[in-house]
């Protein structure tokens, strides 16, 4: 029997609200299935399950506040499931009852089932929802017995178009608070050290331009994928940077790179790019195409928020050259890429103009020392100089 507990979706998370169970007792689940939707400060997150088995009793009611670590359900083996779920049903079946009571009980069972599995909405509400593309399961009904009526659907449509009243906390406010909490904690507890280096990107950029010429507009690569891939490869070279600090350095086997996405309404969100080292540049671009829009609309999966092993921030779009960032605990490092700009470049006693990228590293001094950090930056540089190997 495996206990399924409320996962932590980041160091800054204490609790979330269960908004929907995506499974019911007795359902067969496998690794990666979505088991529930939890509303957090970072939007509604799909919670995945990491084991295979049969879902046991659901121990948390919808809309309940669930602290991190709370037991939510069990994932059972086939034998456990027969022992755990079925006796309850058998009890009901074999209990001796007067016929009238039996009928009443049967009716109650039926009506409970109907409530659990049938969405109560007026025919008109369903019609309007279908026309407007509204998911009725996301709406709270205000009609008889909580049924969803047309007004509820229309309200949902308006809420989608226009943001809620200013008095209510917006998603942006929530994210601002989450970022504030996490960064304050990190700055308070983590002794940071900072390193910076420069790399000549001329070769990498011309290689990228050539590569992109062979591609349709849709498949073109952005420079940022080179940066992500180079970071992933450097982590293989310097594995101490791919780690969490949790009462000591814990190296991580998989490389999941958290990529900072700025929200235009304020705040940041850091979805994880899973197995970045194993992905080709094209695959990385595809992942970005998938993950960035979802991050912007706050529709991420739990694993994408929970298991990053390092963070990459890329402020190359603006005018900044360098970033000295704050680590996202329990990670131990954050790599910052500035903008690529033309600069004078001295090499072999000659001065030239090159496209230059500033790379910075913020690292946790409890976990590593400057020497390790220096090796790591050198490794990133090395990989960026050899784009064809990426």
């Amino acid at each position: 029997m495996i206990e399924f507990r409320m996962p932590s979706l980041g160091a800054d998370m204490e609790a979330g609200f269960l908004r929907e169970w995506k499974v019911k007792p007795g359902d067969l689940v496998k690794r990666g299935d979505i088991i529930a939707e939890i509303e957090t400060q970072k939007g509604i997150i799909d919670i995945e399950v990491f084991d295979e088995g049969i879902v046991g009793e659901l121990m948390i009611a919808v809309d309940e506040k669930v602290p991190v670590g709370t037991l939510m359900t069990h994932i059972l083996s086939a034998e456990e499931a027969t022992a755990d779920i079925l006796p309850a049903q058998r009890k009901v079946e074999t209990k001796k009852m007067a016929p009238a009571t039996a009928i009443k009980q049967r009716e109650e069972e039926i009506s409970i089932q109907a409530t659990a599995h049938h969405l109560r909405a007026s025919p008109l509400a369903k019609k309007v929802a279908a026309e407007k593309g509204i998911d009725l399961s996301k709406i709270t009904g205000s009609g008889p017995d909580g049924a969803i009526i047309r007004e509820d659907v229309e309200k949902a449509v308006t809420d989608l178009i226009a943001p809620g009243p200013p008095t209510e906390k917006t998603a942006a406010d929530n994210i601002r608070m989450a970022v504030a909490a996490a960064m304050s904690k990190s700055n308070r507890e983590v002794p940071h050290y900072y390193l910076q280096s420069r790399v000549d990107m001329s070769h990498a950029l011309s290689w990228l331009a050539e590569t992109n010429k062979q591609k349709s507009v849709k498949d073109r690569l952005l420079p940022v994928v080179l940066l992500i891939k180079a970071t992933a490869k450097a982590l293989i070279d310097v594995p101490d940077m791919n780690a969490w600090w949790d009462n000591g350095l814990q190296r991580k086997k998989d490389i999941h790179i958290g990529f900072v996405v700025s929200l235009r309404t304020g705040g940041i969100i850091v979805p994880g790019i899973h197995d970045a080292g194993k992905k080709s540049l094209d695959e990385l671009m595809k992942t970005l195409n998938d993950i960035i829009p979802r991050a912007r609309t706050l529709r991420l999966k739990s694993s994408e928020l929970a298991d990053s092993t390092i963070t990459v921030t890329n402020l190359g779009e603006g005018a900044v050259e360098s970033i000295f960032g704050i680590i996202y605990p329990p990670q131990v490092a954050l790599v910052g890429f500035g903008g690529i700009t033309e600069e004078p470049w001295a090499e072999n006693g000659m001065l030239a103009v090159r496209s230059v990228l500033h790379i910075s590293l913020a690292a946790d001094h409890r976990a590593t020392d400057g020497n390790t950090g220096s090796q790591f930056l050198a490794a990133i540089k090395k990989h960026l100089m050899q784009p064809e190997q990426l």
């Binding site: 507009v217 235009r264 779009e317």
Partner: protein, 81 residues
């Protein structure tokens, strides 16, 4: 195509990529990416949308020539003369 025909389409495409912004308020010489706080990913999505909408193929080396609204309108008008 005239400027008056192109401008609303550009606005629509920008709004699609960056729904929180107001592209209609862009001034001719504003840097689009910076003014609307778009990153390179957003801008690429915008160019993909533009290529589809106008049936053109914008080569990567031209990206740098269409940073402002004035440049962009001129660029599209020249191709769609």
């Amino acid at each position: 195509m005239t400027e008056d025909e192109i401008r609303p389409i550009i606005n629509k495409l920008l709004k699609k990529v960056a729904p929180e912004t107001e592209p209609e308020k862009l001034k001719p010489d504003d840097n689009i990416q910076q003014t609307l706080a778009m990153d390179s990913f957003d801008y690429l999505q915008f160019i993909i949308g533009m290529d589809e909408e106008f049936g053109i193929k914008t080569p990567e080396e031209d990206y740098g020539r269409i940073m402002t609204l004035r440049d962009l309108l001129g660029y599209v008008m020249k191709i769609k003369k």
